[in-house]
């Protein structure tokens, strides 16, 4: 244990430089979050992830945001366990009808000001599941402020999207 801890002191950190915020995402957000309410939050956002029918691929990459390479928390972004503590819902999956009510309730339980991000092709457009009897479009369920495409979006793509949201907050 001591050796592993010592190594961490001696070796250079793994954390990489931040990607620039996604231009397209910035443009999308400009209309949506350029309000003063966001200023009150300061340079910090609490994110509640909601899996609304994902294949679990998106979750794997969202998890990766917490690893030392991406180190999400250095940006003041962190995941919280309850929607009551959240500013942002990060929604994945094609919004299965079986999760629709839970998603709406989670959104309702999130205090304003609040934003919802659709992460991954499934949440963005239904992906391969768009025509299924068991799924329903995200934007018809809760208001979506930002779309991050990809199947799944890479951690870098997720980070770009989140930074774009944060940039609007300052």
């Amino acid at each position: 244990m001591r050796r592993i801890l010592l190594e961490s002191l001696v070796n250079a950190p793994l954390t990489e430089n931040a990607p620039s915020p996604d231009d397209a995402a910035l443009a999308e957000l400009a209309a949506d979050v350029a309000n003063t309410a966001m200023r009150r939050l300061g340079r910090s956002l609490a994110i509640r992830q909601v899996d609304a029918g994902s294949c679990n691929g998106c979750e794997l990459e969202i998890h990766a945001l917490n690893n030392p390479f991406y180190d999400l928390e250095r940006f003041g972004l962190h995941f919280v366990a309850s929607p009551r503590h959240a500013d942002v819902l990060l929604v994945t999956g094609p919004i299965t009808k079986n999760m629709r009510e839970a998603l709406i309730r989670t959104w309702d339980a999130t205090p304003g000001p609040k934003w919802a991000i659709a992460a991954g092709d499934c949440a963005v457009s239904g992906g391969l599941f768009a025509t299924s009897y068991a799924c329903t479009p995200a934007h018809e369920t809760i208001p979506i402020s930002l779309h991050i495409p990809g199947c799944p979006p890479t951690p870098t793509a997720l980070l770009r999207g989140l930074l774009a949201l944060l940039a609007q907050a300052l």
Partner: protein
């Protein structure tokens, strides 16, 4: 002594079913197969429906036979298998929800995947009205008991499902799971889909096992069409499958330790996991290697840089893993949480034919790479780690040992990579053809069964995740444990929600 051969002989053999036989049978033989299952002489591999018939895949581990039995259900009913063989219960409830076929005699008539929200009932059979939304949990009575409902939205970044705990103080008396929240209608979308589109859907049944699913789909399709993919593709599929196994096992190892508040391990394991995904991206152009495996081979060859990255990753990964395993082994406070926690009974893994680390930590020596076996594993030396202590600690060690085996397999595969193309063209069959495959994901054996029409579209495809036979055992292994240890038990299983909700 053969069990399945005489039963098959009494039925009517299907013309085009590979590589194992399928027979159309009557209710009498259906019930005899069920009795063999109940007696523990057969393992249930899968149970699925079509609009007017039922299929049951079984294996006889001692005589090494595998077969599929098909029962026509003209009146929409079939004799319940779950009545005498509990592993079939959730599968039958699923079939009832999707196809409207009724398991005669079944004790649990509650819906499973259908939560009354689809706006339609039995969508893959004769569509009817949606059922009521109400769901009755099993009653629990006794003094001092209280209920703790958890989910579907959980506290962490994980899939949704509902757990209903009954506890006496801190001790869990019962757990009842309610799943189905991520039902996407995948099998419905596959019906009529062109082969390549269906392959993409198969790769999204459970995203963490996308390579295993896509490989299983491809192998079932290739068996049906009677073709073999090029040897280089076969090798590279296994390279991807082992990278996927390593990435998942190391990620779960860190996450289990994190659930015991040992965050350092999660940090180190997540670095290792990231290194595997980066090598995968370099080698195959996608971090999770989605949509790379297709019927007939691969969409692309491995890159030279990727090959080098994987080769240099192996020794570094092994050295780091040895360090971390040593650290786990030396932490008494960590083991205090994992040893004897969440014990899975040997009898249960046998009855449920539970695959993967859950089965192998409780003494069930089954790995579909060994038996029934498939290329290139038949020519690749490796061991299947086995333990009998059946607790969280045992499942942790099985995963560590499996990573070590996978690193060895990777080394062997890279050293023996055959040259040549990575894809072959698919012949169009003149009549519908059927195929089946068992493929070892990091979680256990994935079964894919399919029927392909002459225009190379899917008539029916069924995917059975290993979690079907693991979820029920998670319910049993938490009895007498404290609530605070549930996350450890749960993570040590890491069942797929999407894989079983479909």
């Amino acid at each position: 002594m053969d069990i399945l051969a005489p039963l098959l002989a009494e039925g009517c053999a299907a013309a085009a079913h590979a590589p194992w036989p399928r027979a159309e049978i009557g209710t009498e033989i259906w019930q005899r197969v069920t009795l063999h299952l109940a007696a523990g002489e057969l393992d249930l591999l899968g149970l699925w429906g079509e609009a007017d018939r039922m299929h049951m895949a079984v294996s006889a581990p001692e005589s090494r036979e595998i077969a599929v039995f098909t029962l026509a259900c003209p009146d929409g009913r079939f004799p319940s298998v779950g009545l005498s063989h509990p592993p079939a219960i959730r599968l039958e409830r699923t079939i009832q929800d999707l196809f409207g076929l009724i398991p005669d005699g079944a004790e649990d008539a509650r819906h499973w995947l259908d939560h009354g929200a689809w706006g339609v009932g039995t969508p893959l059979g004769t569509p009817g009205p949606a059922p009521e939304h109400a769901y009755a949990f099993l009653p629990v009575t006794g003094e001092n008991l209280h209920e703790i409902p958890v989910g579907p939205v959980h506290a962490g970044i994980i899939e949704p499902g509902h757990f209903r705990f009954t506890a006496d103080g801190e001790t869990i008396i019962r757990l009842e799971q309610r799943l189905g929240y991520v039902h996407k209608g995948t099998e419905g979308l596959m019906i009529g889909a062109p082969l390549d589109h269906a392959a993409r859907l198969a790769g999204r049944v459970s995203g963490d096992a996308t390579v295993a699913y896509a490989s299983g789909f491809a192998r079932a399709a290739e068996a049906a069409l009677g073709i073999a993919p090029p040897p280089r593709a076969v090798h590279l599929r296994a390279v991807m499958a082992e990278l996927e196994r390593i990435a998942n096992h190391i990620g779960d190892f860190g996450a289990i330790c994190n659930d015991a508040s040992f965050a350092l391990m999660l940090a180190h394991c997540s670095v290792l996991r990231e290194r595997v995904l980066r090598a995968a991206h370099l080698a195959f152009g996608h971090r999770l290697m989605m949509d790379r495996v297709v019927p007939g081979g691969l969409t692309q060859d491995i890159t030279a840089e990727g090959l080098a990255a994987i080769a240099s990753l192996i020794p570094a990964f092994r050295a780091r893993l040895d360090q971390l395993a040593g650290l786990y082994d030396s932490m008494a406070s960590l083991q205090e949480r994992t040893v004897t926690t969440g014990f899975v009974k040997h009898d249960y893994v046998r009855r449920f034919a539970t695959g993967g680390h859950v089965g192998r930590a409780s003494g069930r020596n089954f790995d579909s790479r060994k038996w029934p076996g498939y290329a290139p594993y038949d020519a690749t030396p490796f061991d299947v780690p086995l333990r009998t202590d059946g607790d969280v600690n045992a499942r942790v060690w099985i995963r560590i040992e499996e990573i070590r085996q996978s690193l060895g397999i990777l080394g062997h595969l890279l050293a023996t990579l055959p040259p040549g193309p990575c894809r072959t063209t698919l012949p169009a069959p003149t009549t519908p053809v059927e195929g089946m495959a068992l493929t070892e994901s990091f979680r256990g054996d994935v079964l894919i069964w399919l029927r392909i029409a002459p225009d190379l579209t899917i008539e029916r495809c069924h995917a059975r995740d290993p979690s079907w036979f693991q979820w029920p055992l998670l319910e049993t292994c938490v009895y007498g444990n404290i609530i605070a240890d549930f996350p450890l038990c749960n993570k040590s299983f890491n069942c797929s929600y999407s894989g079983t909700d479909l």
